[in-house]
């Protein structure tokens, strides 16, 4: 089976989708001739022509608004916002338009768009190239939110997103594009070459939206994670020797509550980790659901480890990032509770 990095897998997903369906179009800032600043669309314009893969003016509201119009016509646009931090001008189009087309027109118009955006930190990008805004999307009725953690899932989830009849926000943890990252920033960079999930079929397949997966089975505590933090959680479990069950949520909306509840009922403990700021983050939703559904099985309070409630700093990047030290401390505290 071919091996791919996550960015190659994402490119392959668009390639396969464009090949199968003429209605799939791809555009965004620098995505045409150049192939995107992270090279996610490299070669697509050359292969499919510049009316199916092209550069957009620097106007995120325009990119999403135009995609909605194309979807209303019947196309399946998969657009790129260069960094998730740049999506705010498009927020009106996403929240009040894309998310509600089906509902307000009673299905007369629908909006099958996919909006890709690199998310998260770990590349010294400072406050405008590091944000994790997933909770701003999960709060919006009508949007679906996907965060892959590896090449195999990224390809299957992106194809599923493009084929989905409703809008999908596809958040790509940019620190994972070229290799898994467990939060040990002082260690040599690893690549996807040696990772089992770097094996990616060249052809079409889907990883269905709304299905979580157990990355590491365990019995002591359930760790709910997505994106980069899946790797941090796995590494922390190994390093602390605490038998944590690590769940990769993959899709935040719709959420796979069954997998979460089954695990927490088994372990009796639940730690939620995400890179986004703590307050009103998606972790709060997860903690609420766990206590609603598993209260009588819990042996300790549900704990969250997240980015501090500050803008993402430049120099203090690794003080901010919830790495293995902080996750490990929380795990040990939970086991003592």
């Amino acid at each position: 089976m071919p091996r791919m990095t996550m960015i190659e897998a994402i490119r392959s997903a668009m390639d396969v989708s464009m090949e199968r369906d003429d209605d799939v179009v791809v555009f965004g800032e620098d995505v045409g001739y150049f192939g995107g600043v992270f090279r996610g669309t490299q070669g697509l314009q050359q292969k499919y022509g510049k009316t199916r893969c092209f550069d957009a003016p620097i106007n995120e509201s325009g990119i999403v608004g135009a995609a909605i119009g194309m979807a209303a016509y019947g196309l399946k646009p998969c657009v790129e916002i260069q960094f998730a931090d740049y999506m705010y001008p498009a927020y009106d189009q996403l929240t009040q338009e894309a998310a509600r087309l089906r509902y307000r027109s009673n299905g007369d118009f629908t909006c099958g768009i996919t909006v890709r955006m690199p998310t998260g930190g770990g590349i010294f990008g400072g406050q405008t190239h590091s944000q994790s805004p997933e909770a701003l999307f999960t709060h919006v009725c009508g949007l679906q939110v996907v965060v892959p953690s590896n090449p195999y899932d990224a390809k299957g989830l992106l194809i599923a997103s493009i084929e989905n009849p409703d809008p999908v926000i596809f958040l790509e943890p940019k620190r994972l594009y070229n290799g898994p990252f467990d939060g040990h920033h002082d260690r040599p960079v690893t690549s996807w070459a040696g990772h089992p999930l770097g094996e990616v079929p060249a052809e079409h397949y889907v990883v269905p939206l709304g299905k979580a997966v157990v990355r590491r089975p365990g019995s002591a505590v359930t760790v709910l994670a997505y994106g980069t933090m899946v790797h941090v959680a796995e590494a922390t479990a190994e390093e602390t020797g605490i038998d944590a069950e690590v769940i990769d949520l993959r899709t935040l909306m719709p959420l796979d509550l069954d997998t979460i509840v089954t695990s927490v009922k088994k372990t009796g403990r639940c730690l939620v980790v995400h890179e986004a700021t703590l307050t009103s983050g998606f972790g709060a939703e997860l903690a609420a659901l766990v206590q609603e559904h598993c209260f009588y099985h819990l042996e300790a309070p549900v704990i969250r480890v997240a980015g501090w409630d500050t803008p993402y700093p430049h120099a203090q990047e690794w003080d901010y990032f919830p790495g293995p030290a902080r996750v490990g401390r929380a795990l040990r505290d939970m086991m003592e509770a």
């Binding site: 800032e29 620098d30 150049f34 003016p57 931090d85 001008p89 501090w308 803008p311 120099a315 003080d319």
Partner: protein, 410 residues
């Protein structure tokens, strides 16, 4: 069934891509001195043609010609040359520092030095710039200490911004330099608001907004033009057209509009286009626009026609999307060489003295760099404390952040 014509989508493309021969022969360059200089209180309707021309002062021989010449003395021009040279050496040292791992990121000005350096000389103390990431000449020509810029770039323990911001996203209120955000176009309309405030308070200060060609596509650019036009805000609306927005050529943002300056016409704004590589022309036009604002006549849109010789940033490789020889073929030349040649032409400068000044400037920059590096660089030496990360989110730290800081153990 209609017999309508089959449609097709127009997607603009630059004239040449890597492997092709750069060709700017379709870029009309008016002769230096050929564009008229209207009075600042001219009715914008009378000068709509200036949005499609290019105001130039320095001719091929290095002579300053035409009605826009003469806004600066020989001494002031010497100072301008020095500022541009300082910026160029500063850029090359900081670019190297990034390559050496002393910082994470850098963005240089190569080829565009005249725009920010000359513009700054048209402002007065108290005026406020809302810059993008490629106007450090505003700081250098404004006398801001270079070592402070380096401390910011290095995120060291003397960084005035406490390590919080990406390198080069300076902030210097006392030097008329608004905090750079890092995302695009958002600050263009803020400059208009600042100028409106100055007018509300019957103050004398004016504002300057800055944006690149690519970012004029953002909605905030158009918001700024509406507000500036409606309230006749005392603001200079600058568009630096350096031809490339990362890999995207200027035609994608410009669309069917002949020029970026022409964007102002629909808003009834006077719009000028100027040779951005001509220090004298930039200054003369900036002074004209600043005077309009200062005399409460209203805003002006100015497009600086220049070329981004370097990469967009240290994360970019332009050879992937444009011919390597393109910057050589750019018809408006190098701003430093053009001003140097002018000063030689008028007899106040020589090649020997230029070489000598190059060496002196290098020493100045290296000395500042050593001082900054004594404080530290991104990964070694003194660094901002983790406590600093929690400060400044609010004027007073709320209880939840105090708890988090305690949890972090600092």
């Amino acid at each position: 069934m209609t017999d309508g014509q089959r449609l097709s989508l127009h997607v603009p493309e630059p004239e040449v891509r890597p492997g092709g021969k750069p060709d700017f022969s379709n870029v009309p360059i008016p002769k230096a001195g050929s564009v008229r200089r209207p009075e600042v209180d001219v009715d914008p309707k009378e000068i709509r043609d200036l949005a499609y021309s290019i105001i130039r002062v320095l001719d091929r021989e290095g002579e300053a010609v035409g009605p826009w010449a003469g806004s600066l003395t020989a001494e002031e021009l010497m100072e301008g040359l020095k500022h541009m040279m300082l910026l160029r050496v500063f850029d090359s040292r900081m670019l190297m520092a990034q390559r050496q791992g002393k910082t994470s990121f850098y963005m240089q000005h190569l080829g565009e030095e005249a725009v920010s350096c000359a513009f700054r000389k048209a402002l007065l103390p108290g005026d406020m710039n809302f810059p993008t990431y490629r106007q450090a000449g505003l700081l250098i020509a404004g006398g801001y200490p270079m070592v402070e810029m380096m401390n910011q770039i290095y995120s060291n323990d003397a960084d005035p911004l406490k390590g919080r911001q990406l390198p080069i996203m300076y902030s210097a209120k006392d030097y008329g330099f608004f905090t750079i955000s890092g995302n695009l176009a958002t600050q263009y309309v803020q400059a208009v608001g600042w100028a409106m405030a100055s007018a509300i308070k019957n103050d004398t200060k004016i504002a300057a907004a800055w944006i690149g060609d690519g970012s004029t596509a953002e909605s905030d650019f158009h918001s700024a033009l509406v507000f500036a036009s409606t309230y006749r805000a005392p603001v200079v609306l600058n568009v630096v057209n350096n031809q490339w927005a990362i890999s995207t050529f200027q035609g994608v943002a410009r669309g069917g509009s002949g020029t970026f300056a022409a964007r102002g016409l629909g808003y009834g704004l006077p719009a000028l286009r100027v040779d951005g590589n001509d220090y004298l022309a930039v200054h003369a036009v900036a002074k004209w626009a600043a005077e309009r604002a200062r005399r409460n006549i209203g805003p002006t849109l100015v497009e600086y026609v220049t070329y981004r010789v370097g990469a967009h940033s240290t994360s970019d490789d332009p050879s992937a999307y444009r011919p390597k020889e393109e910057s050589e073929a750019w018809p408006l030349g190098d701003p430093v060489i053009r001003l140097k040649n002018h000063l030689i032409r008028i007899g106040t400068w020589s090649e020997e003295r230029h070489k000598q000044m190059e060496a002196e400037i290098r020493d100045t920059v290296v000395t500042a760099q050593k001082e900054a590096e004594r404080h530290g660089t991104l990964h070694s030496g003194g660094r901002p404390s983790m406590r600093d990360m929690f400060e400044g989110v609010y004027a007073e730290m709320p209880p939840h952040l105090k708890r988090q800081r305690q949890q972090a153990g600092v």
